[in-house]
Symmetry: C2
């Protein structure tokens, strides 16, 4: 018979730890959206205190004893057992890092972020270099502490994409190089489409209203969330019933609001679809960054950048901006939003060349963990890769190696999840279109409702009971397969660029 | 020699506890200002978890041992010693309440708030009565646990106004009855002034702008705070560098925005003036509710409802609302904002009859703690007192005994601090006007800067190093003396009502 008392105790403890963790998230949302400037030092301290308490509670010996006792409990049902196994894995991983190491990392990354900001502002990599060197050294130490069998980088990947190995990524990026690159070259050979009207003057408040309406149509529940403005758009959640998004509105570039709104909306629909009854448990949490990104990109790219979507919604957009779009058709708009061209900055890239940016970062991170490159040589290496892969000359560090914040807060192994997410998205959406054939014709409110139900049933409602690969096999019948992405882009861009 | 290590340890521990406490405050601000509706259950739970951790850390035996060791340390300076003494007093008080009692109270008040809301909505005291009975029973238990020598109610007063006794309040309200009441009768005998123009249509966004400007002129630092809209205006702080106010804007009553802005602004100036270096320590905290209220009321009544203030600022108001105020002079406006008349609802009362409302609540709370009245008889008693003191017939429970939320969350002993605050305010402001004679003539930005500096030097910067009485004596040369309030109202209202 199951030891329900102990399982309840486990649930209760995880729920308390989630309360603390989500409180940190609330403090962080406030920091990004509301906080007055002079509050930053105390806020950092308040967040560190709460994080410390959550870590302490999670890694306490008594909690470990409870987990080790429960994992032997033959009376648990399968889902309960799975929760315990996952929590035990998290517990064992976190226990591997001594408090002194965690503190040193926290110090190095706080310092790293400050110096990265300064370096970016002054456009000088040397300012950031010593801090980055320290962070890389600590990340190597982290690989050792966490342990790995094949490649040290595996240990870092596991944090963001459990189970994903360096070898898997090498295979995926081999596909990118050998299959996507030749295709992109074909696209580059074609005459470019026009997107000048995207950069006319678009009234900010009309943009805001359009974005809110888009979220509503996608099925985002405003009784369980809200949208605000922030410098960098993001999604955060404090339970499945409080999932917030932010956006950014550029009065002379319609792209920013539209794509950030749909992208963050996709993340938010995932979090709103997690089972609130499983609050704090693995079965109530998202699977991985890759699967999270599959949701945001499925909505942003497969849905949002498709013709069936804009055939339904372009009328509303035209109504909001009648002057700017007077002579623009849904098809013109569709072509403009899907322009492919080499670019220096990842966040502005189209959905094809985007993967060059990720590949470059992946290759460099791998080398850093292998100690195959010195920190001072990184800008040179970066610039060489942008020349080799995209034939671009990087004019300075700010638009080159200093463009992303990630390394400054120690997020190595994070970038690849962006590419994986896109590839999962293509595979999921191919299956969704088979199950809901209407999606091939038009994507209005009704079809999006069906799509959301499908995502909820197949992915959201399971939390992380299944891992990325298990979910992918359950939903699509096979593991991640790059063919789906290639099929999707081939069909779409041959049509757009007419070849 | 001082044991600095232990004192640093104490500082560090209080700083951590403050981090948790202020995090609860951030969650609560978010709840009042931003939170989507479905988030409320989880939010309540998240706040309870953090509060529980803060309580646990504060009442831990190891912290008690540290305090008891430090209080014997002869090497501490006077301020350090004072901090330890105050924390030890707080510690000993909190230790008196067993965890089971705290939990029962928390349950009773959660339930109380729900039933009070329902009762108020349905206008039926009976719905709230059983919950209130339970709360009163627990408050009596709290008096016993906390201990008292003279009157059980003393124990409750001590939470909000340390050192204040039931006897002191009886003396103060004796003054109210024997001196303020006859004066108010003289006012009532005079012809009433006109305030109809206060209730014209006032554009909400112009009101908002005017309020923001008022706060700025008062010296409120927007880099250390912000203003938002909420149902009930309030002030909250997460350090001296993050002090937030909220306001309420009624398009057909200019009073709401103006008085809530100046009142909350007064609270906020106090919090922004506390020494940030003493974060978490008694020397970095406000003295008491009474002194807090003295700051809000000094700004609201003594400054904001004065002629020298509006002589300086009425021009700006007239510019913001030229049509509504075309035929209104600064003096007309001054008379309109100071209309005295009996009223059923405390929060709408003028600064004279306001104290009837408080006296009624004080007398009833005392009786509840003495077990001198049964819960079912409370509405009758309430209505009788409104008849006796203000010759008003209370038409129903919603505008009678159910009007305030305070009893539903167990805040007994809170109301009297509102009156005390007004009386302290009059005494402080009389001294401020002696030290800064310009205040008698005009209160523009420059004079408010001087006043704020004076308040910072004399009151804000000391935290609760001195208690209410000590601060009052240090600043004004004597303990709280009702004469100052009487002198202030006599001079002001004789002039306004011309007798």
């Amino acid at each position: 018979m199951s030891d329900t008392t102990s399982y309840d105790q486990y649930r209760h403890q995880l729920s308390k730890i989630a309360d603390i963790g989500y409180s940190v998230a609330i403090l962080n949302w406030d920091l990004e959206v509301c906080m007055p400037e002079k509050s930053s030092t105390r806020r950092g301290q308040q967040m560190a205190t709460l994080s410390g308490i959550a870590h302490e509670q999670f890694t306490s010996d008594s909690f470990g004893d409870l987990l080790n006792k429960l994992v032997e409990d033959k009376g648990l049902n399968w889902k309960e057992y799975r929760n315990i196994k996952l929590t035990l894995k998290d517990y064992e991983k976190r226990k591997k890092f001594p408090a002194a190491f965690v503190e040193e990392m926290s110090l190095a990354t706080s310092n790293g972020m400050l110096l990265w900001q300064k370096a970016k502002k002054e456009n000088k990599f040397e300012i950031f270099a010593p801090a980055l060197e320290k962070i890389i050294e600590l990340k190597r130490e982290e690989c050792k502490l966490a342990g790995y069998t094949m490649h040290p980088y595996d240990a870092l990947l596991d944090t963001f994409e459990p189970g994903c190995k360096t070898k898997d990524l090498e295979n995926i990026f081999w596909d990118v190089k050998t299959r996507l690159v030749p295709f992109i070259k074909q696209v580059f050979a074609r005459p470019q489409n026009n997107d000048a009207f995207m950069f006319a003057e678009y009234d900010k408040s009309a943009q805001w209203d359009f974005g809110i309406d888009l979220l509503r149509k996608m099925g985002y529940d405003f009784a369980s969330g809200r949208q605000d403005i922030s410098t960098h758009p993001f999604t955060t959640n404090f339970s499945a019933n409080d999932v917030r998004v932010t956006t950014r509105i550029n009065p002379s570039d319609l792209n920013e609001m539209i794509w950030s709104t749909i992208h963050e909306g996709g993340h938010a629909l995932y979090e709103q679809g997690l089972p609130d009854a499983e609050y704090g448990l693995p079965s109530g949490e998202a699977i991985s960054l890759g699967i999270h990104e599959s949701q945001s990109r499925l909505w942003e790219n497969n849905v949002g950048r498709s013709l069936p979507f804009w055939k339904e919604h372009f009328g509303d957009l035209k109504q909001a901006f009648p002057e700017n779009l007077a002579n623009v058709s849904a098809t013109d708009f569709y072509k403009a939003m899907n322009i492919v061209k080499p670019s220096l900055v990842r966040t502005n890239a189209d959905e094809l060349t985007y993967h060059f940016h990720i590949m470059i970062r992946f290759e460099m991170e791998k080398q850093m963990m292998e100690k195959a490159v010195s920190v001072n040589d990184l800008p040179k290496l970066w610039n060489k890769k942008y020349k080799d892969y995209m034939n671009l000359d990087v004019p300075d560090d700010a638009s080159g190696i200093l463009q992303d914040i990630h390394w400054s807060h120690g997020s190595f192994g994070y970038f690849p999840t962006y590419s994986i997410g896109s590839f999962y998205a293509a595979q999921f959406y191919a299956k969704a279109k088979k199950d809901i054939p209407e999606l091939n014709e038009k994507v209005g409110e009704e079809e999006m409702k069906k799509l959301l139900d499908w995502l909820r049933d197949n992915i959201h409602s399971h939390g992380r009971t299944y891992n990325s690969d298990e979910v992918c096999v359950r939903v699509t019948g096979e593991s991640l397969n790059f063919n789906y992405f290639m099929d999707y882009v081939r069909q779409k861009y041959k049509d757009i660029y007419m070849f």
